[in-house]
């Protein structure tokens, strides 16, 4: 009972700290979204003001022209409107020719078309004539200097007004952003205090033996045992995953590789053993204390052996589902779609689009996963794991069902993810080319027991591993 209570208090404090962290992260990103929003709004205002200015200047510009030029400009304007209005008719004539060419024969159809075109031409000419009679000024003497000067002055005025407006807007934007920043910083300071106190408590509470945990380690599995009604799926397994490496777990079918993953992510509660983990703030925790749904908040994000996407949601919404753990808005905010919630979603959407773009599948953002190629689905899953700012990514057979070129591309992607997102990758894979190509260290297991651990070359030359894969003999 005492243990239960300790775990409950522990979980509560971890939850508190994670919430503070998520809000701080969001506050940091919120400025970008606010910036983009203000930009959009200001652009709209500017465009509207430009329109107003042009409407004001247009008659003055006309007045500044000579009579001949003025009527030419007006006629051109009228004809432009006429052409736009009649473009559909021209297309109709063209299409009618194409439609009837089979039925009536080439000559007849062409005749019809020419007749129709001629009619349109005459109409156009008629309209042009009307315009010409309406605007028949032919005087080429330039307009009086006063009107030209007036136009000049007015246009200068308008330009000055617009540039002033731009300046005011940008100043307003700057000040708004600054005040927002100040506000968010103040908020973040408060959150930081909360975060620090929770962090201290966690460090005091965590009973992890720091000596057995290497400085470079991220994940330290010790004597893990997982039995299913007598079957020893994982038996006394100890693995140490170091920070920033790509760690591969290999083994024949039924060796218990996926069970190890499920034990780490707490889908199965292990019968015995410890899973120590250094979370993103450096404090050491035992993952067995965690609930399944809290694992992702600790910074461990996983994919599944068979693609698990929500088929009722579009690709980008699937990615937002992956960001579930970094949403901090409360229930009321979500039900009423408060401003904070909208900002939060905008931040996540921007991030999701960036990730999709990075993996080269931005074109699929709005489409639904059902019916997309398998390689794309795998990439979507990979992008989804990255949505929650993970520290460790667990990939369960990422290359299953991919062809050679796709596998190679996947290998490069995994390498680049490791470098750019500053995380550790822990993967199970059957494709030896991939494993040997990208992994820094590999662990081979068979029937739940460890066979060997080492660099890919060492594993390749290990007689035990060869025996397990190829059989005795």
């Amino acid at each position: 009972m005492a243990l239960m209570n300790r775990n409950g208090a522990f979980k509560r404090i971890v939850g508190k700290r994670d919430k503070a962290y998520v809000q701080m992260e969001f506050n940091r990103n919120r400025v970008i979204v606010a910036d983009a929003k203000l930009d959009k709004k200001h652009e709209k205002i500017l465009r509207k003001q430009t329109l107003v200015a042009r409407k004001r200047l247009y008659p003055l510009e006309l007045a500044a022209l000579s009579e001949a030029e003025r009527s030419a400009a007006l006629i051109e304007r009228g004809m432009r409107a006429f052409d736009f209005k009649h473009s559909l008719r021209r297309r109709a004539v063209k299409q009618t020719y194409l439609n009837t060419v089979g039925k009536l024969g080439e000559a007849k159809a062409a005749e019809n078309r020419d007749a129709a075109n001629a009619l349109l031409e005459t109409r156009r000419a008629e309209y042009e004539n009307t315009l010409k009679t309406r605007f028949k000024g032919a005087d080429k003497t330039p307009a009086p200097k006063e009107s030209a000067a007036l136009y000049e002055q007015a246009s200068k005025q308008e330009e000055a007004r617009l540039s002033e407006l731009t300046e005011t807007l940008s100043r307003g934007k700057q000040s708004a952003l600054n005040s927002l920043k100040a506000k968010l910083d103040a908020k973040n300071e408060k959150l930081r205090v909360r975060f620090d106190s929770a962090d201290k408590q966690i460090n005091a509470m965590s009973k992890v033996d720091k000596a057995s945990f290497g400085d470079e380690s991220v994940l330290n599995i010790q004597n893990l045992k997982m039995y299913f009604s007598g079957i020893k799926a994982v038996d006394d397994l100890s693995i140490d995953v170091r920070k920033g490496e790509i760690f591969g777990l290999i083994g024949p079918n039924g060796a218990g590789k996926t069970t190890v993953f499920n034990c780490i992510t707490q889908f199965y509660k292990p019968n015995d053993g410890k899973i120590y983990y250094r979370d993103r703030f450096g404090s050491l925790v035992n993952l067995v204390d965690y609930n399944t749904h809290d694992i992702i908040k600790a910074g461990i994000s996983r994919t599944f052996q068979n693609v698990e996407l929500v088929y009722f949601l579009s690709v980008i919404e699937n990615l937002l589902l992956g960001a579930h753990s970094i949403f901090s808005t409360g229930l009321a905010g979500q039900l009423l779609h408060s401003k904070t919630y909208k900002d939060e979603e905008a931040v996540c959407r921007v991030r999701a689009m960036e990730l999709l773009d990075r993996l080269g599948i931005a074109a699929y953002a709005q489409s639904y996963p059902l019916g997309l190629p398998y390689g794309v689905l795998k990439k979507i899953e990979l992008a989804r794991t990255l949505m929650s700012n993970p520290k460790v990514i667990i990939l369960d057979e990422p290359a299953a069902g991919l062809n050679e070129a796709e596998t190679q591309e996947l290998g490069e992607i995994i390498l680049s993810i490791r470098d750019d997102f500053d995380c550790t990758v822990f993967l199970v894979e059957h494709d030896m080319n991939l494993v040997m190509g990208i992994c820094d260290r590999v662990c081979a297991i068979s029937f739940g027991k460890m066979l060997a651990i080492g660099t890919p070359v060492e594993i390749q030359n290990n007689p035990k591993v060869q025996e397990a894969y190829l059989g005795v003999g």
Binding site: T50, E61, Q95, H293, L331
Partner: protein, 359 residues
């Protein structure tokens, strides 16, 4: 072309403002509400619309509120419940007794009933935590039956078998005493608010989490979704909607008989939701109109069906089977495919007449 020719810019500044309005997510619902208001005004001031039709629409909107909640429970979270009828009944009894006791603004009753709904939703959600699919159906059926027995057995709270009768109409904001006809507008207003709330639920983290949960629980857990929390939340939403629907019922119909609140009603609402095919209010409201309004408002005006009441029911059953066979995704699918078909039709006509767009 002159430097300050403003035509092109003007087009850019006001791009298809009608289209932009029509694309607003609430546009369709506002149009529907306006239409329904016009129907009621026609009923109140002319003889064009009969009392039956107005009442049918009123009842349909009330039940549609419960159906919206059930839609979130069933279509988003994949949880099947047959308790909706009983929860509506409970809502009518709570609100009805309060209405008899106190004379306060209507919002007060809605709030009380909603709070009761939250409590009962949490209880039901926790009870049915272990059950899923058909088990959940049986558990909710059992709950529904137990509540039904409580309604029917004589007691002062529910009025026993004769139910609550002669409940006074509520006042709005201490000022207007409503009657049967003006309550219609109140019902519409509350329905509209709940439609917006439903849209917000669907388009937020809650909605995505529920969909993820219904698709795969392991996926949901891996994404950090607390299953218990969202399951209970789905039940709470469904219960609150059902109880609010009950409050609307007692306020606008002024009586409540326990024989209405059976699993039969729950099944009817379930059919409305599944026929709608989605948790989106479009589908739910279309399904509700098909189930609760079609026969009373339209079929009864046709002489053949007016003379043979069973023929109308037969026709409804036939319609349900036909829709499910032709469009397994429900009315939503039907509406979408009809929309696509009309769009394609007009596009093809345009293409045939004018050829492909020049760009």
């Amino acid at each position: 072309m002159l430097k300050n020719d403003y035509e092109a810019l003007a087009k850019e500044c006001r791009p298809h403002y009608l289209k932009r309005i029509a694309r607003h997510p609430f546009f369709g619902y506002i149009v529907l509400m306006i239409l329904l208001i016009i129907v009621q005004l026609l009923h109140m001031f002319t003889d064009l619309i009969s009392m039956t039709v107005s009442q049918a629409i009123n009842t349909t909107m009330i039940l549609a509120v419960a159906a919206l909640g059930l839609g979130i429970l069933l279509m988003m979270s994949g949880l099947l419940s047959l308790g909706t009828g009983s929860f509506i009944g409970l809502g009518t009894y709570i609100a009805g007794n309060l209405l008899k006791l106190l004379d306060l603004p209507f919002v007060f009753y809605l709030a009380v009933v909603a709070v009761a709904g939250v409590i009962i939703g949490v209880v039901v959600g926790v009870i049915s935590l272990r059950a899923k699919g058909i088990h959940l159906m049986i558990v909710t059926m059992a709950l529904s039956y137990i509540m039904y027995t409580m309604f029917v057995l004589p007691n002062p709270f529910t009025g026993g078998p004769s139910g609550l009768t002669q409940v006074p109409f509520p006042t709005l904001l201490f000022l207007f005493k409503t009657n049967r006809e003006t309550m219609y507008f109140v019902v519409l207003a509350v329905t509209f608010l709940l439609i917006i709330l439903t849209l917000n639920v669907i388009n937020s983290t809650i909605g995505r989490a529920m969909l993820g949960m219904s698709q795969s629980e392991s996926l949901a857990q891996a994404m950090g979704i607390h299953l218990l929390k969202y399951r209970v939340l789905a039940f709470v939403i469904a219960t609150v909607y059902a109880m609010v629907s009950g409050a609307l019922y007692i306020a606008s119909i002024a009586s409540s008989s326990p024989y209405t609140w059976t699993t039969t009603l729950a099944m009817n609402i379930l059919v409305a939701v599944i026929i709608g095919g989605t948790a989106k209010p479009v589908g739910v409201i279309a399904g509700s109109f098909l189930m609760f309004c079609l026969d009373l408002a339209i079929l009864d005006n046709i002489p053949f069906f007016a003379n043979n009441p069973t023929a109308a029911v037969f026709f409804m059953g036939f319609l349900i089977i036909l829709i499910v066979m032709k469009y397994p995704g429900g009315l939503m699918w039907m509406l979408t495919s009809l929309k696509q078909k009309t769009q394609t039709f007009f596009y093809m006509r345009r293409l045939k007449k004018y050829g492909p767009d020049e760009s």
